[in-house]
């Protein structure tokens, strides 16, 4: 079937494959445009690291919330802020301390806590990150611009079953006067994966 008029640019090989799969599925009545559009819109706009940043900022200002968040299962405390859903049925927050720096990887695929971080960046899913973070975390973190002091233990979390991990960074010094919203603006995605320190 020719559909060049829908695509002013010539399609790439992979676009031709997507189009072939989609049209064959559509002919079987299996394509639901609304479902696809809703999925794309949700993760392109509404679900992302701004959610995780709110969790972190609240944990910094509210000791009781921090305690609930660092319980064995963090999912209920994250749910208090309205975040949950796909890839977030069992979320666990691991806190950085002066003694421990946490970092998250998925060596087998791309597991990531979608409700609080959105979809993972390409580097998180790439062979270099997945192969090296479990073997030489200190070297790789330094290469990525994250220097962890020698007397701080690096603890790597390989998310290989159903738990999805979020790192709670340490609150930066000198932020005592900031509001929760101002603090949330300081929290980067990378600090919640553990490849950056604030």
């Amino acid at each position: 079937m020719s559909d060049g008029h829908h695509h002013p640019e010539p399609m790439s090989d992979v676009e031709r494959r997507v189009h072939a799969l989609e049209t064959l599925l559509a002919e079987k009545g299996l394509v639901n445009e609304e479902f696809i559009d809703d999925m794309v819109q949700a993760y392109a706009q509404d679900i992302g690291p701004m959610n995780g940043a709110r969790v972190v900022a609240k944990a910094w200002v509210d000791p009781a919330y921090r305690e609930r968040l660092l319980a064995e299962d963090s999912t209920p405390a994250i749910g208090e802020l309205g975040f949950g859903g796909a890839e977030g049925a069992h979320m666990i927050v691991v806190a950085n301390t002066p003694e421990v720096h946490n970092v998250v990887v998925c060596t087998l695929c791309s597991c990531y806590p979608w409700p609080v971080l959105g979809l993972p960046p390409s580097w998180y899913k790439s062979p270099p990150y997945r192969s090296r973070m479990v073997r030489e975390p200190r070297v790789l973190l330094a290469e990525m611009g994250c220097e962890v002091p020698d007397d701080v233990e690096i603890r790597v979390w390989d998310s290989s079953a159903e738990a999805r991990y979020l790192v709670l960074p340490e609150r930066p010094a000198g932020t005592e006067g900031l509001s929760e919203d101002e603090l949330a603006a300081l929290v980067s995605r990378d600090s919640m994966i553990g490849v950056a320190r604030l």
């Binding site: 676009e15 997507v18 299996l30």
Partner: protein, 211 residues
């Protein structure tokens, strides 16, 4: 399976390349694939383990040379063809070339990994466990780099569906998973000789107690 996807500890992949200000979807087709995967897994009644395994069965060279959403495209098209929803020849004809994943192994699940699941935890906090040295031909969530290594249970999680059983026998059977902590020296020998550590979540059937 000891496939190309099982990347933990492998050497030679070079630096991590970070794309500044990366968009969630680089091109429109990536978003379409993200949505199509949801539709295909529903239509084929495939769970996440079967979808993951469809990606794991990609030709290794194709896996390494293709982008993440191309993995999803290949995996979902493979599931759709294997379920009989669509025809591989038609896919090929309409696209001008559509590499699919390789067929399932003839015996993907050894009997030990297919055994019925027990809901009550066998191990507790602080148990010393060794990861069994299993090398199944089919889907597993036990990476190679922890096999035959000894670590300590630091968290016990309630029952989760056993991936081998869900992917290959089509049933949901739950058993406890354990977060097991290993020293880097245990995993990598003297090269890992620092105070750093690694925690990984493992299903009960992957583990045996060390006395």
């Amino acid at each position: 399976m000891d496939g190309v996807h099982d990347l933990g500890g492998k050497i030679g992949y070079g630096p991590v390349v970070v794309e500044a200000d990366e968009p969630v979807f680089h091109e429109a087709w990536e978003g379409r694939v993200f949505g199509l995967v949801g539709l295909v897994t529903i239509a084929t009644n495939a769970g996440t383990p079967a979808f993951r395994h469809a990606i794991e069965r990609m030709d290794p060279q194709h896996y390494l040379e293709s982008s993440y959403y191309e993995h999803w495209l290949t995996g979902s098209a493979t599931l759709a063809v294997e379920a009989g929803l669509i025809d591989a020849d038609e896919l090929e004809a309409r696209s001008g070339g559509f590499p699919l994943s390789r067929p399932l192994a003839r015996h993907p699940v050894p009997s030990h990994l297919a055994a019925p699941a027990a809901p009550e935890p066998r191990f507790g906090l602080g148990s010393r466990v060794r990861v069994r040295n299993d090398h199944p031909m089919g889907h597993t969530r036990c990476p190679d780099y922890v096999r035959d290594r000894v670590g300590d249970v630091v968290r016990v999680d309630p029952g989760e569906p056993v991936p081998e059983i869900e992917a290959h026998l089509g049933r949901i059977e739950r058993e406890p998973t354990y977060c097991v902590r290993f020293s880097m020296a245990e995993l990598w020998g003297d090269d890992g000789g620092t105070g750093d550590s690694l925690c990984i979540d493992l299903y009960e059937r992957y583990l045996e107690e060390v006395s």
